[in-house]
């Protein structure tokens, strides 16, 4: 009951701050609109040309695909691409120019609005951890945490309540953004809502762990907001969250933001859990590592306050 009381208390206080709550939903929707509209042309044409040298064994269309396209090509697209190449080969022989898709080709089925709906939702969900962290710091400095601890409330109950309260807000935010993006911009989130929900839940867990971790390391809300903002903006940028950056692709692939984004893209384009297995696994492992660190630091901080 303590967990639920603390979670509902946090959620209630968030809702009571009407301006913040509206911004929580309005900002991502606004960003989807701005980015989706502004970068729409970039998602419409693939103009890079590549000449296949004669030495390439062109009868092996799979090899051609792997040499020509980004390895992010979803399995479901391979058959389609192979057919296209086979048709080209019939007409033009083994040496001809083919279109090389740009690095976003695995996501070429995503429109600009789809792309930015996914990326902005992830970005703002990751930032929700700042709210959790700031609340913990605030309650610690205002001695509310001290007061709560003077009641029969375990530290674990307090932490779980804080995280759950933050998660409730994030879930509401996600539902609102998905609804508004669908209604206003016609964003197609696919049919695999369970996949989308699992991915978003994993990202919310990452976000809350970062909030708890940073709140145990720094002393002020300002330090937490600044520090976590810098980290999240950097990771989001590296992962192509604001705009695809081919040069950063090798590094961007290694970020949790990218795993979350790719997982969402797979589900949005009709992919299955099997197709997103590696991304979801990486996310799960990362959550375990982050939460282990967050709990260790939280425990140390609360025992020595």
């Amino acid at each position: 009951m303590n967990v639920i009381n603390i979670a509902l208390n946090k959620f209630k206080r968030t809702l009571q701050n009407k301006v913040s709550f509206i911004l929580l939903i309005a900002m991502p929707v606004f960003m989807i609109f701005i980015m989706g509209y502004a970068l729409k042309p970039a998602f419409q044409t693939n103009t890079t040309i590549k000449k296949i040298p004669p030495s390439v064994n062109f009868t092996n269309t799979e090899l051609v695909i792997s040499k020509s396209y980004s390895e992010y090509l979803p399995q479901s697209n391979n058959a389609e691409e192979m057919q296209k190449l086979a048709n080209q080969q019939k007409s033009y022989g083994n040496t001809f120019t083919i279109l090389k898709l740009d690095l976003q080709s695995p996501l070429k089925k995503l429109s600009s609005f789809q792309y930015f709906a996914a990326s902005m939702l992830l970005f703002f969900l990751l930032n929700s951890g700042i709210g959790i962290g700031n609340n913990i710091i605030n309650e610690r400095s205002d001695k509310i945490y001290m007061r709560i601890n003077s009641f029969p409330v375990k530290k674990s109950e307090y932490l779980l309540g804080q995280v759950l309260g933050g998660m409730l807000t994030s879930i509401l935010q996600a539902i609102a953004v998905i609804l508004f993006s669908t209604l206003l911009f016609g964003v197609n989130w696919g049919n695999n809502f369970i996949g989308i929900a699992v991915t978003l839940l994993l990202m919310i867990l990452i976000s809350s762990s970062l909030g708890v971790l940073f709140s145990s390391i720094v002393n002020s809300e300002k330090a937490l907001s600044t520090g976590l903002c810098i980290v999240l903006w950097f990771i989001s940028f590296m992962s192509g969250g604001f705009s695809p950056v081919p040069a950063l692709e090798p590094v961007g692939k290694l970020t949790f933001y990218r795993w979350g984004f790719d997982s969402l893209a797979i589900f949005m384009t009709g992919g299955t859990f099997k197709a997103a297995a590696s991304e979801l696994t990486f996310l799960a492992i990362f959550i375990v590592i982050l939460w282990t660190a967050a709990l260790a630091f939280f425990n140390w901080r609360s025992s020595n306050e």
Partner: protein
């Protein structure tokens, strides 16, 4: 019967010893005062009592139960009024008490009843729907108390509950403490205002630098300095030489100077006054006023520690 026993309590932060081997017994039904200047270790002791921080050594037994990290059930008997105003500014008075009442295990009709009772007790019934940010300092302090007592705790710990408030609110709070005690609660009251401790508490412990200096009733403590009297001399700009020369006079127990007031504790004020005035005159210190007074808790503290209660 002792409701709280503190045995060989130690709290160490790296090389700093915040609480240094404190031993105390607090009897059920009394108002127990913990007196000491800022940084003496009062709040650290309170935090360990409430299980907020873990002791480095020693043990605390509350109502027969030894405090342990994993055991939180004993906290049902506690009500903590922290030194800071620990309230949610964006929840109204009623909602604040409700939230903490739920954490104490209250629910349903009993919770509603106790919330109303707590608001009436602290005189904030007409402000139940108001936000704390609209309250005066005294009202916030009263709400701070209400959030600690709605579950009728057996032990109420009040950590400097009257800091920074007007005299009227302070008197209201002191009266509330007496009422709570008359209703059966044991009260542990910490303060650096000796006047409050003197009028309120049946027994007092004086702490300084983490150590227990002395413990007993007000009368017992004053007996420590029974034969001492305090000479208070109002002087502008006493220099270091004057203070050192006065300290060196045989029969002077303690000397303190702050806010243009020189306080000297001695058994023989009449015979030493001449020497003291000669020193001040020789060093060209300007005298403004002079007073002799009976020993109080401030005197006890000054005698035993060599410094004043208030920084």
């Amino acid at each position: 019967m002792s409701i709280i026993e503190i045995k060989d309590l130690i709290k160490r932060y790296d090389r700093n010893i915040a609480v240094d081997n404190i031993n105390l017994k607090i009897e059920e039904g009394e108002i127990f005062g913990l007196l000491g200047p800022n940084g003496a270790g009062k709040s650290t002791t309170i935090n360990m009592l409430c299980g907020l921080i873990d002791p480095t050594g020693g043990e605390i037994i509350i109502d027969g139960f030894k405090i342990h990290k994993k055991n939180t059930e004993y906290k049902r008997k506690l009500g903590l009024v922290p030194q800071q105003i620990a309230l949610y500014e964006n929840l109204c008075a009623e909602e604040n008490i409700q939230f903490f009442g739920k954490l104490a295990g209250l629910k349903g009709a009993l919770l509603k009843e106790r919330v109303t009772e707590a608001l009436e007790f602290v005189g904030l019934s007409d402000k139940r729907k108001s936000l704390p940010k609209s309250f005066s300092g005294g009202m916030k302090r009263r709400l701070n108390i209400a959030c600690a007592i709605m579950h009728h705790p057996k032990i109420i710990i009040m950590d400097e509950p009257t800091v920074g408030i007007d005299p009227q609110s302070r008197n209201h709070i002191l009266e509330s403490v007496r009422k709570l005690n008359s209703m059966g609660s044991t009260v542990i009251y910490t303060s650096h205002y000796m006047e409050e401790i003197e009028v309120l508490c049946s027994r007092i412990a004086i702490v300084d630098h983490g150590k227990l200096i002395v413990e007993g009733t007000t009368e017992e403590l004053k007996k420590h300095v029974a034969s001492d009297e305090k000479i208070k001399i109002k002087v502008s700009d006493v220099n270091y030489n004057s203070i050192e020369e006065i300290k060196a006079i045989k029969g002077v127990r303690a000397v303190d100077y702050s806010d243009n007031m020189l306080e000297i504790i001695t058994k023989h004020p009449q015979s030493l006054l001449q020497d003291i005035l000669f020193i001040l005159s020789k060093n060209e210190n300007k005298l403004i006023g002079l007073e002799l007074s009976e020993p109080d808790l401030e005197t006890v503290f000054l005698t035993l520690t060599g410094r004043k209660l208030r920084d």
